[in-house]
């Protein structure tokens, strides 16, 4: 029949009762008069019934206690994480500070960073007075070359 192709495309929907009222009436009317489509519908029905032979398992009891326990666990774990965050930051800062201060203390060379010419000259004179070798000082002196020459030469 002319309409068979069109009807065959609707048979699965017809089986599942998913067609609009008008389409359902069309398919039903067609099937009455078309043995080919009627057989096709029978085959589809048979396949889907066979597939249904095994049912899905039924849920054995309520899952609510399990879900509630899981949720409480999740919430307490989240609270712990939130509590842990500032602790972790403080701990990290402590580590950084201790490393930094250790670095300063154990440095074999005393570091002085000065920009003030007066302070530099005082420091150098103090070194001379106390017999401290200038090599042990790592001086980063930001001043003009003439000033440096004069002071270094003077030691």
């Amino acid at each position: 029949m002319k309409n068979c192709r069109k009807i065959k495309n609707k048979l699965v929907d017809f089986y599942y009762k998913e067609l609009a009222e008008e389409d359902t009436a069309d398919v039903a009317a067609h099937i009455k008069n078309c043995p080919v489509c009627a057989i096709e519908l029978k085959v589809i029905s048979s396949v889907l019934e066979k597939i249904s032979i095994i049912k899905r398992p039924k849920l054995p009891g309520s899952l609510y206690p399990l879900i509630k326990a899981g949720l409480e666990k999740r919430i307490s774990s989240l609270a712990f994480k939130i509590w842990r965050a500032p602790f972790a930051v403080s701990f990290g800062l402590l580590i950084i500070l201790s490393v930094f201060s250790n670095n300063q203390n154990i440095s074999p060379v005393r570091k002085i960073e000065v920009c003030d010419e007066l302070l530099v000259s005082i420091a150098l004179r103090e070194c001379c007075k106390n017999n401290v070798k200038t090599e042990s000082l790592n001086l980063n002196i930001l001043s003009d070359d003439v000033f440096l020459d004069e002071n270094i030469r003077g030691l």
Partner: protein, 194 residues
């Protein structure tokens, strides 16, 4: 009398307000079908329970982001299906996509749900097992999306529109996938002499 939509709406509002009773009612309303859907993917009772548990925890956590543009249950099943897909991908619980896995100790509860007739006579039981195995092989011929559509439509009884909402695809695509699945199964069972 409160209809389904209004009932869900009230429960969602209750959950947003932090009412435990609303959450409990939502769980009790959807857990059975959710478990069935999850089992369809995971094929393992304990694994399905884990996924359902996680899905409800997500609901609790994300309820404030649910704007009500779609129905609550399609939103929920979408979360559930995504979790099932993740579990399948991770392969933690299942070795293969096998809808009719029987005989494993973990699935005792599942086995008890096989039709009563199967338990009555050994011949029938054997025949049902053979048929199950053949059907299982037939379902393995389907693509992942065909299986998903077929599972939601045939085993869970969702409407095509609902399947489309859950899978976030068009209704026409659902119909096409469903038709393909049924015709592949028909061909497979026919070739297998069933």
């Amino acid at each position: 009398m409160i209809d389904k939509k209004d009932e869900d709406g009230l429960l969602v509002e209750g959950l947003r307000a932090g009412e435990e009773s609303a959450f409990r009612l939502l769980v009790e309303k959807y857990q059975t079908r959710a478990f069935s859907v999850a089992f369809g993917y995971i094929k393992d009772v304990e694994g399905a329970k884990d996924v359902v548990q996680e899905s409800f925890i997500r609901i609790y956590e994300k309820i404030k982001s649910f704007k009500g543009d779609s129905k609550f249950y399609t939103w929920y099943y979408r979360i559930l299906v995504n979790l099932c897909m993740d579990a399948m991908r991770k392969g933690k619980r299942t070795a293969a996509f096998s809808i009719f896995m029987v005989g494993e100790s973990r699935n005792k509860e599942y086995n008890l749900n096989i039709r009563e007739s199967e338990k009555e006579e050994p011949e029938k039981k054997y025949a049902a097992k053979v048929l199950s195995k053949k059907i299982e092989n037939g379902l393995d011929q389907l693509s992942v999306r065909e299986k998903q559509v077929f599972e939601l439509k045939h085993y869970q009884g969702f409407r095509i529109r609902e399947v489309a909402d859950i899978m976030e695809i068009k209704e026409g695509t659902v119909r096409t996938l469903l038709h393909r699945a049924v015709h592949k199964l028909k061909k497979f069972l026919k070739d297998g002499g069933l």
